[in-house]
Amino acid sequence: MIYYEYTKVNRIDTPHTYMYTKYQGSKFIDSYFKDRFKSLNTLQQIKENKNKNNLFLYSKSSIVLKGILDEHIFDESLKEITAWTKNIKLGGTILDDTCINIASLTTFNISNKVNSEQLLQSLIESQLNKGDEFLIKFWLDLLVQRFEVTKKIYENYPVNFRKGKGKNDIIHLYCLFSLSLTLFYCNTKSIKYLSTLLKVTDLLCSLGKDLLNRKILPQILSLILLVELLNVKLLSNTIDGVNFESS
């Protein structure tokens, strides 16, 4: 049996470089699918979550992600999970009054210090509202570059988006980043962003259930993982010997 090593230890504490990874055949893809399903099952077990951070953005995003999944239900066993996510009270107008003040992406300037949470909120809001694609790519590319070099998202980035400052273990920043990458990949199909997304979700799946429970909404991470699985499945459709097995 092949071991999916990328989620086995806390990847904030012990980042993986992903350099010269070994080829292990089609069974490696099975191990990835199984590992993600294990994470989805773990997330389903989280019954109640009082974390209301970014609820407005997650609510709007969940509608988009569910729409993508509805177009491509690709496995019977997934229906149960998507049905579960549909029961999540994330959508709808009741959350309108929880809308936070999200700055326009045009107000961010590389000559100033940038707060990562504000930038990610603004990015996602812009992506959901079909904002300026050039500007979205510009800021997302800066975050991708910083994450790929350090395997971290820092609380702040100083002038010229150089080496990050502040905490790098704020879990909901990784969740927001994975959401932004998901939306961008679904919109552009540019593989680079799927590659980074897989690394960020590896990191999130490597964190313990208790940690995730306290820091993020399990429903939104479940949707992100499902859309990721769907996209990997779509890429593997033409390859003989790659079987999607969720059991």
Binding site: Y20, I29, I191, K192, L194, S195, V232, L235, I239
Partner: protein
């Protein structure tokens, strides 16, 4: 023939082995080689085994190529920089350990570093770019550039697309190195024929910068026989 103005900085990696084999086969011998050897018990990026070191030294001796073993295997170390700065050759073919970037200090010593990037520039910059081009276009590429401070942005001397490898399980250590070696030889041959460095594209702007491909996508690239998109 010896290339009097051209030397090489070479780590004991599979890529260096491919470069040396092709240079010797095509009688394009560097005037001098500075060897960066891994003296640790753990393999470094770009190394498949520990046999390359002895093979390389034998090849250099057999072909009468002058060489030194660097006292510090870090290309950015003061020792390595001094060794290179003191040489008379103006151009160094660069074949270091994987993931190592040349920093400002070495790039400022007045030498040119000829690097063969694994990917068609400027479209595919960054790391493991050939996996991405296989997914998107079912081709691989290699481009000869002079290194600058901005990664993969130096002027392009030569670039080529190549057919996808028959055995995709050996991209890292064989196919990628093979196409880079072909471009290196063609680039040096062009220099000999014309007597100067000619640029195919001086302004290497735009394109996309890629980062090390995730193993799931790497596996799909290897398992697939065509573009996946």
């Amino acid at each position: 023939m010896n290339l009097h103005n051209i030397a090489m900085v070479a780590a004991d990696t599979t890529r260096t082995k491919f470069y040396m084999n092709e240079l010797i086969k095509n009688k394009l011998l560097p005037n001098y080689v500075l060897l960066l050897l891994n003296n640790n018990s753990k393999l470094l990026p770009g190394q498949k085994d520990f046999n390359t070191k002895n093979d390389l030294i034998c090849q250099l001796k057999d072909n009468g190529i002058k060489y030194d073993i660097a006292s510090n295997s870090n290309i950015n170390s003061d020792e390595a920089i001094t060794s290179i700065a003191n040489r008379s050759e103006q151009v160094f073919i660069f074949s270091g350990f994987g993931g190592v970037l040349l920093k400002g200090k070495i790039l400022d010593i007045g030498k040119k570093f000829l690097h063969i990037h694994g990917g068609y520039l400027p479209d595919y910059k960054g790391s493991t770019a050939n996996y991405y081009s296989l997914i998107e276009q079912n081709v691989i590429g290699a481009s000869a550039i002079f290194l600058t401070k901005e990664i993969d942005c130096g002027p392009i001397l030569l670039r080529n697309f190549f057919s996808p490898p028959r055995d995709r399980t050996k991209i890292d250590h064989i196919s990628d190195s093979k196409v880079r070696a072909k471009v290196l030889v063609e680039c040096l041959q062009n220099y000999i024929d014309s007597g100067s460095w000619k640029y195919e594209l001086e302004s290497n702007r735009g394109g996309e910068t890629f980062y090390i491909i995730h193993p799931v996508l790497k596996h799909l690239t290897i398992l697939g026989n065509s573009a996946l998109q």
